[in-house]
């Protein structure tokens, strides 16, 4: 018996493409906000990260300025060995 948490992770391992939350919540039959919590768990464990491509062009009017950037839902992707290490954005977590 695999846990739901594990299913969340393997959903990423099988497709390897970034997935939107809505899609995944529907597939797994869990409420969206609970899924967010679960993804947070894997992000903290370093297995997933939020993917940033295509979120905003950031060229006009400063970084958050662009009103025309598609309001994409958050999406996540698997952290693989060859993906570049990222700075931890967690405020004050003290990790290096």
């Amino acid at each position: 018996m695999t846990t739901t948490l594990r299913q969340v992770l393997s959903a990423f391992e099988t497709t390897k493409t970034p997935r939107t939350l809505n899609q995944l919540a529907r597939d797994l039959g869990i409420p969206l906000n609970m899924l967010e919590g679960m993804l947070d768990y894997w992000v903290r464990k370093g297995k997933l990260r939020e993917s940033k491509d295509g979120v905003a062009c950031g060229t006009c009017g400063g970084v958050q300025g662009c009103p025309f950037a598609p309001k994409l839902p958050h999406s996540y992707e698997l952290v693989t060995d060859d993906s570049p290490p990222e700075e931890c954005s967690h405020k004050g977590c003290g990790c290096r």
Binding site: T20, N22, Q23, R26
Partner: protein
Amino acid sequence: MSNADQPPQAMMMLSMVSPGETVEVIRIGEGRRLRKRLADLGLTAGLQVRVVQNCFAGPLILAVKQDCRLAIGRGMAHKIQVCPYKTHSDKG
């Protein structure tokens, strides 16, 4: 599925549904890309959608999630097969 023993439901194109009606998406027409892009916006087979705007021409507006509406072109709506949505009597 519980739907299996029911008589075959009247399938129709999403573009024919009048505003205010809720339907269930049965099939999204050919094209893996199309299906994927619709899925990204939250529209997949098996989902209930309510038609907000649909007139003789122009795109449609669908309610897929409670707080977001989705506009799709008429051409695409032709390719989406739906059937009238029956409210299930089971309550959690």
